[in-house]
Symmetry: D2
Amino acid sequence: MALTIGVDVGGTKVAGGVVDDTGRILVRARRDTPADDVAKTRDVIIEVVTELATGRLVQAVGIGAAGWIDATRSTVLFAPNLAWRDEPLRAYVSRAVGLPVIVENDGNVAAWAEFRYGAGRDAEDSMVMFTIGTGVGGGIVLGGALLRGANGIAAELGHMLTVPDGHQCGCGRLGCIEQYASGSALVRFARAAARQEPHRATALLELAGGEAEAITGPMVTAAAQGGDPVSAEAFAQVGRWLGTSLADMAQILDPQVLVVGGGVVEAGELLMGPTRRSYQAALAQRCRLPVAEVRPAELGNAAGVIGAADLARRL
Amino acid sequence: MALTIGVDVGGTKVAGGVVDDTGRILVRARRDTPADDVAKTRDVIIEVVTELATGRLVQAVGIGAAGWIDATRSTVLFAPNLAWRDEPLRAYVSRAVGLPVIVENDGNVAAWAEFRYGAGRDAEDSMVMFTIGTGVGGGIVLGGALLRGANGIAAELGHMLTVPDGHQCGCGRLGCIEQYASGSALVRFARAAARQEPHRATALLELAGGEAEAITGPMVTAAAQGGDPVSAEAFAQVGRWLGTSLADMAQILDPQVLVVGGGVVEAGELLMGPTRRSYQAALAQRCRLPVAEVRPAELGNAAGVIGAADLARRL
Amino acid sequence: MALTIGVDVGGTKVAGGVVDDTGRILVRARRDTPADDVAKTRDVIIEVVTELATGRLVQAVGIGAAGWIDATRSTVLFAPNLAWRDEPLRAYVSRAVGLPVIVENDGNVAAWAEFRYGAGRDAEDSMVMFTIGTGVGGGIVLGGALLRGANGIAAELGHMLTVPDGHQCGCGRLGCIEQYASGSALVRFARAAARQEPHRATALLELAGGEAEAITGPMVTAAAQGGDPVSAEAFAQVGRWLGTSLADMAQILDPQVLVVGGGVVEAGELLMGPTRRSYQAALAQRCRLPVAEVRPAELGNAAGVIGAADLARRL
Amino acid sequence: MALTIGVDVGGTKVAGGVVDDTGRILVRARRDTPADDVAKTRDVIIEVVTELATGRLVQAVGIGAAGWIDATRSTVLFAPNLAWRDEPLRAYVSRAVGLPVIVENDGNVAAWAEFRYGAGRDAEDSMVMFTIGTGVGGGIVLGGALLRGANGIAAELGHMLTVPDGHQCGCGRLGCIEQYASGSALVRFARAAARQEPHRATALLELAGGEAEAITGPMVTAAAQGGDPVSAEAFAQVGRWLGTSLADMAQILDPQVLVVGGGVVEAGELLMGPTRRSYQAALAQRCRLPVAEVRPAELGNAAGVIGAADLARRL
């Protein structure tokens, strides 16, 4: 049985795993990310791969990272949370560990994992996935393969324009979907509501020690699940915008399945309910025609390792 | 040399042509569309095909029409400007003329023509095209083929959300791009400006006999080309929104080429200048990376016939 | 007891009444409006006044009309539904009937009637009223008097900007509140929903003979009152925007009372419920402070006659 | 000649002055604000007043502060930058210094100063002023007096809704004008542009030591005046939104004069040019009618002291 290694390089941790050809993770390894040191981040990746590969017949290595990857899947052109700029990661790691390596954008990696082994495993042709983390990432599968784009930078779904002149995005524009359907937006909505209507947000504010500015994403999830109305409304706001963008994907790509992933999915129907209602309302004029079902992701955090390993298998 | 026939079924005319394998139209035929009579519209198509096929070795027939076509390219599920509802057009025409037939959405047909023989002929892999007519149509080529979608209804680009709570769209939603970057929007912008600032719109109002409500698209084009500032601004407004949607396409699909077609393209730089500026501004954060060039379509009205014929060749 | 006459000049009818100093209408008269004939419209007003004044001790005449009135309340500068342009209405009518005359904008007249005898009669200082007809009119009472403005044109509330780049307004701008909180908007919302979701709008469509384009305001009201969900949502949309503008009025003017008038008020809580919720949400950050109550108007159509007569009493 | 004292209580300094009945400041005093200590802030105000009043015949004291003041101008209900909550400032200071005291909102104070002695001194009846600082404040003069509102909280112009679902405001809502036409917005626009297009923002980035996040308002002003295009565009964005809100004021209140004050006014035509163009465009449909002129404030920082002193004179 051929094994491959997947590595998920995040802003705070490097997680790796040995994965078999059914998408199962057999062994795991994990290190902190020395995020602001280019050389050390590479070394930590190599450590993780070396630890996992030792004593096993490993065929190839896949690495997923947030950022723009060049069209040959070799070089990280730009990574927002790491110090990499035009970093030839594939060549460096491959030389160090003596195995074939592929580098892929983390949103693409997660989408691929869900397409192969998760929420989209019954789709044989097409799937679009939004990954809702601090920001919004995306991945598009068409014709049974990841859409990479002419320059390697397709599926940058977080920067679709959503509200003209809307909230300032880190990218410089006003009104990207990342400012309305991300974990950051969830927290911003919840903090604002807690400042505006503290008497309705007592449960949430209690978790935050009484300080609206101390509210975090996990607090909003916990409070919402406990019945806090302000937290539930914050999820509903995110869902409303997310549903709109999912509808745009249906209009543009008409995929078999639409998937929503990332940490916020743990909130379950608190997020997915408003998301589906907004999606269906936006597509009401197509009501006689079939449209893609919207589903939550199934693989959670493991999607990064599983997807990267599975892409390496296809090298 | 194998010949195919392309038929472009519009709301006011049925245009057909015999096309060779270099995309050249050898012979043409044309009839008025009896738009509100299902049976007569079919008969007119058959008349056009019969006229063109008689005395020639024709391999197949392609028909392009505005509307939703089913995934097998056989049945028109819904056509906004014609009376067709679940119309089995392929079977009907094929039986009548004794040739293989394919039915395709008109936005897809035009995109295919431009990809093969027009503004995108140097692209071998991917292209996205917006067709700006009364409404906004679209076509997406990926991997060298039209993207048809899981249900046959991909590339409905006119109904991407652009302005939340914006102008009411015929589809029932508020704020679709069709309400901001179409020929109808151009006329609406120009009429409004002429009512609001008649002293600046004298050239345009003269063409319209002094009545803002009598302004038409061709008048706006003519006045803009003659230097009328109000008409030029109407084109700039359309271009501003169009550039935003083209940027969304670059973010989502990262194609090799982006094409703008439809009658408004005759306005040249009056439309394309503002479109490109808005596109570039929206993608400024990607300035170090290559992005698709935005080009005007090259085939004009002939795209419908050429594209349909070329798709028929691939049957 | 001193009597005055009020005349309400609408686009379709001229209604007059003799009013006593408690705001009661003692006698009425009514004619059709010859809207496109300047001279005839004046003559009809004079006929109505003459009929009402004959055999009664009448002190003065007040005339309310849609349009811009000059700062001396003498001349109609512009009337959107009538042919008047710089029409010296006060001088003309006064000369003809031998009584003092005042001319006032219809939104101001209605606000004054409600302030004196209707929903704002307990307010001694300030009130703002939105009149929701085909368009949106307004009237502002401050310091116990109508706010007329430096040029006579204050309280043009219908043309506050609500949605940047939103629905095209008749005035030439995009996104005035008149496009979101008027009777026209109600019908537009309802028609769109009926086209988009015909299966949910069966009750409404039945009233309209199956044609979405045949839906009228009274049909939406009737259907909403009968439980039609699509019609109720159309009222909720209007209410949502209206509540936002009422909140702006509270932020800008902090009046004692806010009043909503016009035909749509007959829908009762279907309109007022969503309006109040939107208003309160927009002012949530002021929750510890008192803000004006939002009330429906009480005088209905009679406000035009009563208000004009009462203003004439103050000449 | 009767003298009064004006005190301007800001978040960082308490400035006082003795003012004569022509609006001239004869003597000044100044202390740092101990912003987070309620009792100390009161004591500093008393120190400033005592220093100024000693040895002079002073008639009364006016105090201006950011926040909501109750309808009797006695109690600070809430101050965003100070620790005051339901602070009976009038009674406290009056008792301590033995003089009549009035407390007024800082936006109102500045508007009053400009109406009496500055940009609005030729208006005898009405004026609206926007004060553009970190946030957006406002003051409205109607009938020759400040509009205070039924609850003392009129002219909260910073929280008019401008962009539905727009940038999150500190007040909890999305899209208040304070997020689009304030000093904070100016900096946000400039930082975003510097991140997005660093090559065009070299002059501005040089002032900020190369760091977009280090850009401040004074840097944007300096760079804009030196010809930096990115900084000029940031002012133009602020002006575009400000012009829209000024137009709303003309539609609602039709005042004699509109004034723009606050630190950003130092940028001169860089701000006022785009502001006036946006204002005129929004009112184009009223082009035949007179509308208020838009002017920059004339008194600068001194408006707080002069206005408070002049209001005290009217006690």
